[in-house]
Amino acid sequence: MDSNKKYWKGLEELKKTKEFTEKNKGEFSEPLPIEEVLNEAGLSTIAPRRDFLKTLGFGLGAVTLAACNKSPIHKAIPYLVKPEEVVPGIPNFYSSSYNGHSILVKTREGRPIKIEGNPSCVLSKGKMSAQGQASVLDLYDVSKLKGPVYNGNSTTWPQLDQYVKGELNKIKANGKKIKIISSTINSPSTKAVIGDFIAQFPNTKHVQVDAISYTGIIKANENSFGVAVIPGYRFDRAELIVSFGADFLGTWISPIEYSRQYASNRNNAALKNKKMSRHIQLEAGMTMTGTNADTRILIKPSEQGIALMNLYAALGGANVSKPLANNPNANKAITLIAKELLAAKGRCLVVCGSNDVSTQILVNAINSLLGSYGTTIDLANASFQYLGNDAEFVSCVNEMKRGEVDAVFFMNANPGYDFINAKEFSDALAKVKLRVSFADRMDETAGLCQIVAPTHHYLESWGDANPVEGFYTILQPTINPINDTRYAEEGFLGWSENPVKDYYQYIQNNWNINVLPQANSTWKQLLQSGSIYFGEKPSGAFSFTQNLSAVFQTINNQSNALAKDGENAIELILYENVAVGDGKHANNPWLQELPDPVSKVTWDNYIAIAPKFAEKLGIGETDLAEVKTGRYSLTLPVLIQPGQAAGTVSIALGYGRTKVGKAGNEVGKNAYPFLSFENGTFQFTSAATISKVGGTYELAQTQTHHTIEGRNIIREATLKDYLKDPYSGTGKGHAKTYDLWDRYEHPGHNWVMAIDLNACTGCGACIVACSAENNIPVVGRDEVRRRREMHWIRIDRYYTYNEGAEKVTEENEIKQLENLDNVTVIHQPMLCQHCEHAPCETVCPVIATMHSSEGLNHMAYNRCIGTRYCANNCPYKVRRFNWFNYWNDSRFDNYLNNEFTQLVLNPDVTPRSRGVMEKCSMCIQRIQGGKLKAKLERRTIKDGEILTACQQTCPTNAIIFGDSNDPKSAVSKALTSERTYYVLEEINTLPGVGYQTKIRNIAEA
């Protein structure tokens, strides 16, 4: 059965706007300046004979001279003393960790070039997020400080130490306060160092504050159960997940871990067992998690608390229900959700993205009613990934304001940028005598400090982390410090006259006493494995007995404060997006160019607003609008976002850095000042107004690039249909098509790929992994606007209506335009399909693209002359053309065009030059490497030995690659799944990439 459901990438495509059809008609979105070349001034100008001869002569002479250079001199400089473990040409892998996730760092000839997850990691199981993948590029960031700074001038470490020590001793004598302000520190050794420092300077206080705060959850658990922690959430044990605005697949607390857990109940294996979890998302802004939900219900921030109260009442808690006045949909849904939740008692999980203590206490109460504690929520195996305490930090700022603080140290914290009131903060800071920042660059806060003592990048450091209960990871340096940097910890050790001055020694001592003996392990074993896990603790019994009346009161008050009446009144949601996150990595061009999973916008933040609501306000796409609260206002471009709740707008945090570096400065605008501090935590929602201001701004959005002309390439089914007929929705049963060409033989290997659309969450980690592995250039905002992004793998995000296929007719569609808020989303990773009958191969005039006997579509860059016929003939639109020499062109200086940053390049992959077509090679360098390894060891290739970069990093295992000639391989098995279909199989290109249908677990009601 073929679905006639309508899928569309952007509103312009849906509405077939004139501009859109124009842009998509030709090969290029912009007209090429052919006319200019061919007009009077160009072609028909008569070149004087003398000029002609001069040019000819010069050309001839130049060519002759160039040809005279018989053999260019290339130096080959070997090591003087080669480290024993290094063999030039062979990568070494070292275990380390990133943000508490155990990783493997690939180094070539001593320089780290790629991050992989460590399969032994408890959190990630060998997977990695986009930010983790991109973190290696930060090591080669030219914007970092070259050495310590004192009052804006470079200084030396002994001078710096002398000064700081002197100041500290003075402060010790006068009894004033010292503050260490940091983001979450879960490193046992760093904590011990700070502890030692505090012992020496007892007036010191360590304040932890996170830009994106989770204090609400910590405080709520403290109130409800007496344990001030973020619990361990077990999405894999939940058959029913109800999320109130928590983007747990994208950004919330531990997204890689949660994605893996989440997908384990929705992937191929789960569906084979006829089981699939159900996920209901209630939210206002379209989050990545929302796009993956089976059912998505729109509620405004002001309705969130009330909705939770209603749910609590419907589940049999205190009867405080107060139906939402303007949202009958949600009211109906909440009753149904309550029913479903009660049916799944003990196998369900309710989470909420709010940072409000009261709201989180209510969520605790709901989960307690549902018996989630001990099953899907584990307070005993808590997470230490966020430990920030907002109130402590705010009171710290107040103390600074009152002049009680004489010294302040900033470790991996940047309140100068992300504090709610930068002016208030800088004024307060000015009253502190000794201001020390350990930032690696002259960032917003470091600029306010008289001392900047840059610390190492994590790939240059020893260190450790304890991200969750019982799991300890180690950081191991993979390169000598590039700049004259020093551990922040060594600063503290030195200033407090600690007997151990060497941080490496300190960590080793710490582990030898506190961790290794208990684990019956040694330091060497630890360096090999990268982590130690003591196993899960038995989850204790926690009962919820709190009186909720105060909580209800607070929630009601907050709801009233958010819901303002008025023509332009809106509720503002501030969120962290998947790519740039909280803004720490804003100078990373890989992350800036990674399209947002939902809006597909790169290089900017924007005001996301619902289509109908925007129409009502008279605001259109690309218009500039101003969002205003009592304290702050911001003018940003508008993005029409289907699925956004009417009366709300969303703005991403993490943009608008001013002192982060060339690539990230002034990208977007800073929305942190919209945050407010209420009831002891930072609030990420606010009442605001919106108004159109003059002018437009074009966002660099990739959503409709490489469009597939509305062809039927997405296949989905409901769980009900799937259980009835596993082939449901795959569109099987086509009339036999006939081959124009002979089939290729694949006697050896046949490399193919299977992508599970039901597991893919759209996070984009594969895109960054691919960029790192395959030397994919960053093109920048302007070039993205011209549709020239170079990613070999993209994630197409399609919107569709909730209606069943049979109901869709042309009239219905038009009617649906009225209700664009209610859309569902599907993510489809799209990469070269390595077709057996590849349309690109037949049109290449120079045979630069060829089919291999192993089922791959090869691309020989040096044969390519850039006719771009192949890209034109590719029905999947996966070929990318190098419009510039991105590696050596001053226009791309801010990204990867400098010798230092280019140290990150993978030496096994040729960086492409201008005028050449490129595309996914299925990581052929890895295939060849894997084959060679097998040959050298005189054995056959093991399945799973060769992984493509995208597959290796995919947190949900949605991508499986392998040899289909091996019937036992994972990919062969995946492709025999009933859900498998091939994109555009009706045109008989015989793709090598098979997709598995998206299944939606929609309630039968």
């Binding site: 001199i73 090591y79 063999v87 050896g748 060849q928």
Partner: protein
């Protein structure tokens, strides 16, 4: 005449050297036992000793004066026993060089030992020769000192120049004689034909030829063919550097190391067996041998200037055996330059396919200085892939691959090309 004097000047030092060496060598070859001693010395002693220089053991110059012959005999044949026996002289020596201890050479006869010391004495008595500049090797050939082997090249050019000049002089003289003869004849009153007339006739011939259309056509055709073929050939050879032999910072001889001493290629180029890069050995690999192999016997007791370059690079002091901090890498010049877009893996060819290094690198064991033997063109790669049978013996990787192959069933050769060795993506990605 000036050129001749220059030429003489240039070869003068050489002549002097040769003369000097001739006299010198005749003066040293006085006793038979010195020759035998030299042979044994080179075989057994040079690993640790030199005449004028301390290596692992002391410099041997004047050793006969320092110790009695009887002691030397005993010591040489079994030094460890002497140390153990507590001989005072032996003790002093041992303390100075410990923990290194001289090996026992019980297989040497008394005569052998005496021969050795005779040789040592003879060598020690020689006046030291300056090693700088054009040092003379033991076998009498000139060894280039500061880089390009100037003397021999200059000589050759000089010779050619002299011949050419002589030829010109002969021509001119001939001409002069002719003219003079004619003048004399004219004075005698004999009519002599003027030369100009003959010239005129010759030019007329050329004019005739230039009017011959067939001739012109032939000439044009010939030149087109010649120029065309030269151009064609030149184009094909653009960027092909067969025979490329740059001057390297160290005059490293593969002929000596791989040819004469038969050092396994893998010893230095271990990467070729494991990695895509064959890799130039790091200086610490050189030091495995050159810690004590210093070729002092060839340089009159001095360390070979080429080996000294390794020491300089490592900032190594051969006297104190201490490495300093002022290390400078050795900047070799790459000879085999594959383009960046071609991926080549040594281990695939050397270990999997079992191809000899010489197949691509030529008779490396005979090369004094390495040059590019193969053209390294794609045609060359492809031809080899077409011809070379895959080395699938005892390699389980190929089992399934070959089982599926028709060629094998038909009894045909399975070459690299048959297994996809000609596909673009095998080398270009």
């Amino acid at each position: 005449m000036r050129s001749i004097s220059l030429f003489f000047k240039s070869i003068l030092p050489l002549l002097l050297f040769t003369a000097y060496f001739g006299i010198f060598s005749s003066s040293v070859s006085f006793a038979q036992d010195v020759g035998a001693g030299a042979a044994i010395f080179k075989q057994k002693c040079t690993a640790c000793h030199a005449i004028n220089k301390q290596v692992l053991g002391p410099a041997l110059k004047g050793v006969s004066e320092r110790h009695t012959e009887a002691w030397l005999l005993k010591w040489t044949k079994n030094a460890p026993a002497m140390i153990a026996s507590g001989d005072p002289e032996a003790k002093v020596l041992y303390d100075k060089y410990k923990p290194t201890m001289m090996t026992a050479f019980t297989e040497l006869s008394d005569d052998d030992v005496k021969n050795i010391y005779a040789y040592v004495k003879a060598e020690g008595d020689k006046p030291p020769v300056a090693a700088a500049g054009a040092a003379v090797g033991a076998d009498g050939t000139a060894v280039g000192g500061s880089g390009d082997g100037g003397v021999s090249n200059f000589m050759l050019i000089g010779l050619i120049a002299v011949i050419v000049i002589a030829f010109l002089v002969i021509l001119v003289l001939n001409r002069v004689i002719n003219t003079l003869e004619r003048v004399m004849l004219r004075k005698k009153g004999v009519e002599v034909e003027e030369e100009e007339e003959i010239k005129k006739d010759r030019l007329a011939g050329l004019k005739m030829l230039s009017k011959n259309k067939k001739f012109i056509f032939f000439l044009v055709l010939l030149s087109v063919i010649l120029l065309g073929s030269a151009g064609w050939k030149g184009m094909w050879e653009t960027g092909v550097h067969t025979g490329y032999q740059p001057v390297q910072p160290i005059k490293f001889s593969h002929q000596l190391h791989a040819g004469v001493n038969k050092v396994d290629c893998q010893y230095c180029h271990s990467g070729a067996y494991k990695s895509k890069n064959a890799s130039i050995p790091s200086a610490n690999v050189c030091m495995n041998c050159h810690n004590y192999v210093q070729a002092t016997e060839k340089y009159n007791g001095e360390i070979s200037p080429e080996i000294l370059k390794i020491y300089t690079a490592l900032d190594y002091n051969p006297e104190t055996k201490v490495y300093g901090n002022n290390q400078k890498p050795i900047e070799w010049i790459r000879i085999h330059n594959l383009p960046d877009f071609a991926y080549f893996n040594h281990s695939q060819h050397v270990r999997v396919a079992g191809i000899e290094c010489q197949k691509c690198h030529g008779p490396i064991q005979t090369m004094q200085e390495v040059y590019q033997y193969s053209p390294l063109t794609m045609k060359w790669c492809i031809n080899c892939h077409r011809e070379t049978e895959v080395n699938h013996k005892d390699n389980a990787y190929y089992d399934q691959l070959l089982a599926a192959h028709n060629q094998l069933k038909k009894g045909e050769k399975v070459t690299a090309a048959v297994l996809g060795g000609l596909e673009c993506g095998k080398c270009h990605y």
